[in-house]
């Protein structure tokens, strides 16, 4: 335990911590980020609660599961710049863009930051002190802090490599801030969905303020939405998009797997997602015959590898592989029901 109250994963006793050590990157380099969150531009001068005037709050309609944490998000673009949306499914953010995400459960625990620099994206995270008076930069190798109020009794701060593993699985690393996630046609059935607070930016706000340019003009009148046969399916596909699609898509390093769970709002009638789910799984569900496991078996949730992996928190089998230690009970229940009701012979 060091002076800040953080322990390196090596000093914790659990075997999962051992894996954290073994999976962490070798010697961390000095971070270019400030040591204090207050110095990153998120807050108005002299406060740790009031966002600065040029910081925009937002909330995606299909949020990432974070073990039940309450989250808040902000983005800041350099003055006079804009987001280039000519590739409507992979926006290009100007150098200088900053994105923050805060995690709390009663009190604030962590605020993550990603910054677009001339040499690429830089990631870091800040740990809030117990009295909430400061938030300090966590080492790039990540850390574990005892936290009786958090599931599992400790709080895991991700390493920079953990950040990259999720954020750099597509052409743009900014997740949750996209045409579909900020669409005004919000999904009322979205799993853990939240209504945006007044003042939060949405797709139309960004276009009107010319902070977003190049978007298809038709999306102003017909905001993007997931085309699905039922409301349940729409919500499930949205959940898979927001929780799995950042890695499992057709434009990133894992494209060779042929598992595409990313919704491209320009192709709302595409059934490739369900099709890619019907393929054979390289993951073998316990009890299945060798090479017979399926990613998804219509009508048979118990024979669907994606659900099995979402229901486990064995680090070697769980999905997502990082940033969660608690099963998302609501999501898995709804996905189980969706799979159960899928007719054999899918896709529709």
């Amino acid at each position: 335990m060091n002076a800040s109250g953080l322990s390196s994963p090596l000093r914790t006793s659990s075997w999962t911590a051992l894996i954290l050590v073994l999976s962490s990157t070798a010697p961390a380099t000095a971070s270019p980020l400030p040591q204090h969150l207050a110095e990153t531009g998120l807050y108005a001068d002299g406060t740790l609660t009031t966002p600065a005037r040029d910081v925009l709050a937002y909330t995606p309609q299909y949020p990432l599961w974070s073990d039940g944490a309450t989250k808040r998000r902000w983005i800041r673009l350099p003055r006079g710049t804009f987001i280039d949306a000519r590739d409507a499914d992979a926006w290009s953010f100007p150098v200088g863009t900053r994105v923050w995400k805060e995690f709390s459960r009663g009190t604030r625990r962590e605020t993550r930051l990603m910054v677009h620099t001339r040499s690429g994206w830089v990631y870091g995270t800040y740990r809030w002190t117990d009295d909430g008076a400061d938030a300090l930069l966590v080492p790039a190798s990540g850390a574990v802090a005892p936290d009786p109020g958090w599931p599992g009794g400790s709080y895991v701060f991700p390493s920079e490599q953990d950040c990259r593993s999720c954020h750099e699985g597509r052409p743009t690393p900014v997740l949750g801030f996209s045409a579909l996630q900020l669409s005004a046609d919000r999904d009322p059935e979205a799993v853990h969905g939240e209504r945006p607070d007044p003042g939060m930016v949405e797709l139309r706000t960004l276009v009107d303020r010319r902070l977003l340019r190049g978007l298809p003009a038709s999306w102003r009148t017909r905001p993007p939405r997931i085309d699905a046969s039922t409301e349940d399916e729409r919500a499930v596909l949205g959940y898979l998009h927001g929780n799995c699609g950042q890695c499992h898509n057709a434009r990133g390093p894992l494209a060779s797997l042929g598992l595409d769970l990313w919704i491209d709002p320009a192709r709302p009638h595409d059934d490739r997602i369900v099709r890619s789910l019907l393929a054979r799984s390289r993951f073998r569900i316990p009890g299945e015959v060798a090479r017979e496991s399926r990613r998804l078996s219509p009508g048979a949730p118990e024979r669907s590898a994606i659900l099995f992996r979402m229901l486990t928190r064995d680090p070697a089998q769980q999905m997502p592989p990082v940033a969660t230690r608690v099963v998302d009970a609501e999501a898995t229940r709804r996905i189980e029901r969706w799979i159960h009701e899928l007719p054999s012979g899918s896709p529709r």
Binding site: L22, S24, F283, L311, D314, A316
Partner: protein, 197 residues
């Protein structure tokens, strides 16, 4: 020359022909034919890196386990069942008699099939997936942790050119269909569906 120095030099002189006549070390593995210079370099790196130690199944000879090169780099054989590891005070790592399954505080891990078989090996991987996996210690660079005893931190010290050479070689290894079991959690760890809260 003193008598004392003669005592030293003569035995050395006599030893030289013996040292010079020492036969060259035989190759660890049969060399694959028709490899590109890059893949040939990769073959050498795989051999001296000890990859066969865990990723090639063994047969038992009179002096112990010997790599079975007919199943070169195909990982833990799918037909070999491994029971739970014993608990012995003072010991933390156990290895099976094929040297392809290891048990320790992380659970039980099975050596991966590194051949280019599409369904059970690295056939679906790209060069980028391989390099990122070796650099990050995560499956395909962003999936589950690569488990002990895989010394990925050591492999990560290779240059990009060296990792590309290893990948070029692995693409040329004969594909072998062998479905390696999924790793097992340690006994007493949370089981699937047991951690909702």
């Amino acid at each position: 020359m003193t008598r004392r120095s003669m005592c030293i030099l003569v035995p050395l002189f006599l030893a030289c022909p013996v040292l010079a006549a020492t036969p060259p070390v035989p190759p660890f593995a049969p060399s694959l034919p028709n490899l590109s210079p890059e893949a040939r370099r990769g073959e050498h790196l795989v051999a001296i890196g000890g990859c066969h130690d865990c990723h090639t199944p063994k047969t038992f000879g009179p002096q112990g386990p010997v790599p079975d090169m007919t199943r070169m780099l195909s990982g833990h054989p799918e037909g070999i069942q491994v029971s739970g590891a014993p608990t012995v005070p003072g010991w933390i790592v156990f290895v099976n008699d094929s040297l392809t399954a290891h048990a320790g505080p992380w659970g039980t891990s099975f050596s991966a099939n590194l051949t280019p078989d599409t369904e059970t090996g690295l056939g679906g991987w790209t060069e980028q997936n391989f390099i990122e996996a070796m650099r990050t210690g995560r499956h395909m660079g962003r999936g589950r942790p690569i488990l002990p005893p895989m010394p990925w931190i050591v492999v990560a010290q290779h240059s990009d050119a060296e990792l590309k050479a290893i990948w070029a070689y692995l693409r040329r290894v004969p594909p072998i269909r062998n479905e390696v079991p999924a790793p097992r959690p340690p006994s007493g760890a949370a089981t699937p569906a047991a951690t909702t809260r």
